[in-house]
Symmetry: C2
Subunit: 367 residues, 2 copies
């Protein structure tokens, strides 16, 4: 069997080995079907069952209420940046956006093409090319419009390593969440949301599928004038099969959901994720300033641990040595620099422990 | 090894066994990389090389001139139905569409949301619920507007089993082609086209990727006001990676392109495809009317062979017996009825011969 390494990539990201092995076993031909998942018609009974299992798997893990639709669309979160305002902003044509990072800003950019965007809060700091985020706003900072079509936020910010510890309170205005980088990492109360979307390639499956969970009454906002592929109502009426969906991606989601359930579901994942992140944050906090966390402590992400060293040279040295030792993908995003360890659901605790030890050794030699 | 059957599905459709076996072998971890193709960052050198190979593979097979961009996008041909007019119709806001089937009509529906659609020709016949197509229009039937922003046609019509034998002549107006169901089945002169798009799931790879080949000067038509994900210029400037593309789909395309080249390229595929289709059309034409081809002879498709029997009961009996004998996916589309044998590039000649023999046996017993 081909040797595997520790993959700290921010996304596409590590998948459970059990999922990869099951997909590998079946890739030439699905058992009893005689065709590969890559070859079967999306209208076949075999695929219909796979889609139904993927949906029920997500529904069960997140305890999605019956008044929500679960969709598997294409175009990633980036197309959702447009679909959300195109479908949900009319007729009010104004919405609240909370800006906590680069992905929030991209969502805002597309929403402005549709209507008026009220920045309910932004935690951006710095000037010019040196702008950055390092925290989530407090509830008291939010300037919400009670008449907004919706409030949009980004639950986890991969680049800055910040994460909402709980949802913003928005009253009766529908809450819309880009949960691409932390969906399925803990139980959430879906009934608090109007719509949740998440690119699959962090915690759910491969790239090329985006999960959309939408409260059914919001489907009525989609106007007939929308381009068909961009219309949530049409996609829901066609059970994500108005056209051929990413059949392989949905198949992998089915396996991932089953795997997470077998591990004990999202409460168990939350325990594991908290423990994994603590190992790295403890290594940072106990380093006497050799390592410095980028995010403010109360905004820290369980999914992306971002930190710097005292000089860019030391950062480069650590990344180079870590890569040679089999820790891949640790280089921070260019807008933050330093290091980023992305430790999604599938990332093994052993890998986090090994990295923490590696960091301690590196500090001894270079501190 | 799991037993495989004959897969006549119209799409997603059969892939070469060599491609499936290579993908299967590498699914747990790419050789020397230690991570699965499902897990690696799209910004990694490994994926950049895969994307470059997929592009150069397509470029080489189709002999794509240097003044064209090759893109791998999401949303299938159905999203192209919108992206083509959104990007290419302004500022003239009028375009010619040639209607030869259900997919042409869907493209027309979205184009009408953007500007004026001139139906340059339609070969639709029948009334009400019984409307159908059975032929490609002659050049003399086309009512082209020399001032149109572009002319759009569908090269192969999966549902009706008709296919353009050569491109319509459109003068200096850019020619746009939905080639989803026959791309790569024969060499074409790409320089005749302004843009070619093709959902991958017939001849190129799995569902969830759409290939777009666009003449570079046409990129200048894309306006900044377009939603970012729908903007060809932005997608081209970002080498199909404005956001995370369908990395696995592109990986499979890379393998398919290499496989087709190893078989001798598209001239060889064309020879094989003509020979394969001839076996089935001969079986139909020599049946003394027991089998009746749906498409007019001069419009027949090499990819989808559509035919009827004299009664719906006989059709059902044939489909049932064929399915039991390991011929899967032969049921015709509900709008045509009868049978449809989709025999894309990857469909083996042996399977076509076996089906022709099965049809002859069936006729002996039931004729």
């Amino acid at each position: 069997m081909e040797k595997r390494i520790y993959n700290f990539s921010a996304g596409p990201a590590i998948l459970p080995e059990e999922v990869l092995l099951e997909a590998q076993k079946e890739l030439f031909a699905l058992p009893g079907v005689g065709m590969s998942i890559l070859e079967i018609s999306h209208r076949s009974k075999t695929f219909e069952a796979i889609l139904a299992e993927a949906k029920s798997g997500i529904k069960s893990l997140l305890n999605v209420p019956d008044n929500y639709e679960i969709l598997f669309l294409q175009g990633g979160a980036s197309l959702q940046f447009s679909m959300v305002p195109l479908n949900l902003m009319p007729p009010k044509n104004k919405a609240d956006y909370i800006s906590t990072g680069s992905w929030s800003k991209k969502a805002i950019k597309e929403a402005k093409r549709v209507g008026t965007v009220n920045i309910a809060a932004t935690t951006e700091e710095g000037e010019g090319d040196k702008k950055y985020f390092k925290r989530i706003p407090k509830q008291s900072e939010l300037k919400l419009d009670p008449d907004a079509a919706y409030v949009h936020f980004t639950s986890n910010n991969t680049i800055y390593g910040t994460q909402w510890q709980s949802e913003p309170e928005v009253g009766n205005v529908p809450l819309i969440c880009d949960a691409s980088s932390d969906i399925l990492h803990k139980p959430i109360d879906v009934s608090k949301y109007g719509l949740i979307y998440a690119g699959a390639q962090k915690n759910i499956g491969p790239s090329g599928v985006v999960l959309v969970i939408i409260r059914k009454d919001l489907l009525e906002r989609s106007q007939d004038s929308l381009h068909t592929m961009l219309n949530y109502k049409t996609q829901a009426e066609n059970n994500s099969m108005y056209n051929t969906p990413n059949t392989f991606g949905i198949y992998i989601i089915k396996i991932v959901a089953k795997h997470l359930a077998s591990l004990g579901g999202l409460s168990k994942m939350y325990e594991i994720n908290k423990a994994k992140a603590k190992i790295l944050y403890d290594a940072i906090d106990s380093s006497n300033g050799f390592y410095k966390g980028h995010a403010e402590k109360e905004s820290r992400s369980l999914m992306n641990v971002t930190f710097n060293l005292t000089t860019a040279d030391l950062e480069k040295k650590l990344i180079d040595e870590a890569t040679k030792a089999g820790f891949n993908g640790l280089k921070g995003h260019r807008s933050v620099g330093g290091l980023r360890a992305s430790i999604y659901n599938a990332f093994p605790t052993k890998g986090v422990e090994d990295l923490a030890n590696f960091m301690k050794d590196f500090q001894k030699k270079n501190g």
